[in-house]
């Protein structure tokens, strides 16, 4: 694990608010979909029941990972609104679109996190009912999101790094 000391946990609103703003902004502008973010809460234990997840890594002044997880039907409808055509779940274009959504959400939040951070390329996990865990050293905050197409969640497991 990176040895830099974690000086601020992800519960810090300064790290959470940029993601709430960016998820609203990305879906509003790119897909014409209004997102309502519910009260963020600490993730207790492992999250279960994922179908479609986009995962992106942060490194630098802010380190960790961000996971955006959708039920299959919600992902299909949101992707359709995003690319303006129906895409079958699991096809390369569908995977690319999910990755691009997560990339945009992370990329739009990045300048507001303070310090210089970089993001990795997204990975997309497709399946049914799997769990996603981040490292226990970094607390994880869940931002529940509602849309007219159904609910999904952002799992934010990032922290500012001292000395980065």
């Amino acid at each position: 694990m990176p040895q830099a000391q974690t000086i601020e946990s992800a519960v810090n609103p300064n790290l959470v608010t940029p993601f709430i703003n960016s998820v609203r902004d990305v879906f509003d502008k790119m897909a014409g979909v209004k997102i309502t973010a519910q009260e963020p809460h600490l993730k207790a234990g492992k999250s279960t029941g994922h179908d479609i997840s986009g995962i992106i890594g942060f490194s630098g002044a802010v380190a960790g990972s961000v996971v955006v997880s959708f039920p299959k039907a919600v992902a299909e409808r949101l992707v359709e609104a995003f690319v303006r055509m129906p895409l079958e779940c699991g096809t390369p274009d569908f995977v690319d679109a999910v990755g691009e959504l997560v990339n945009m959400i992370a990329g739009s939040a990045k300048p507001y996190l303070g310090g210089v951070a970089s993001i990795s390329l997204p990975s997309v996990v497709i399946g049914q009912g799997y769990t996603v865990a981040s490292m226990s050293s970094t607390p994880c905050v869940i931002i529940p999101c509602s849309s007219p197409h159904g609910d999904f969640a952002i799992e934010l497991c990032i922290a500012r790094q001292a000395g980065a």
């Binding site: 902004d25 990305v26 502008k29 790119m30 014409g32 995003f82 690319v83 303006r84 055509m85 274009d93 690319d96 679109a97 990755g99 691009e100 990339n103 945009m104 990329g107 739009s108 300048p111």
Partner: protein, 123 residues
Amino acid sequence: MKILLIDDSKTMRNIQKAILTQLGHTDVLEASDGLDALSKVGAYQPNLILVDWNMPNMDGITFVKQYRAKGLKTAIIMVTTEAEKARIVEAITAGVNNYVVKPFTPDALSERIKETLSRVAAA
């Protein structure tokens, strides 16, 4: 009207292509990075270029610099997540005619394209 669309994300290319089609522009050539684009500009001779910033092999800003260094004057719109003012200034200095920050609404991109084309036509 020939438009060169440079983005490493196929999804973003498809989205921008759909918007271009709505504006009546159907002659669109795609490139997946700056190098790919440089290899295509000679034969395609585009009238407008939409270019992403962060791409592998050759990024958008390098592409713009090399393209302009050839003395080519085609209008270029940069479409990117890079939103800081210093970045926009850097892009304009390199020779970009207009700048669109991702995420964009379809209307915002359409407006920028129309604006850029009319500016070029007037010049």
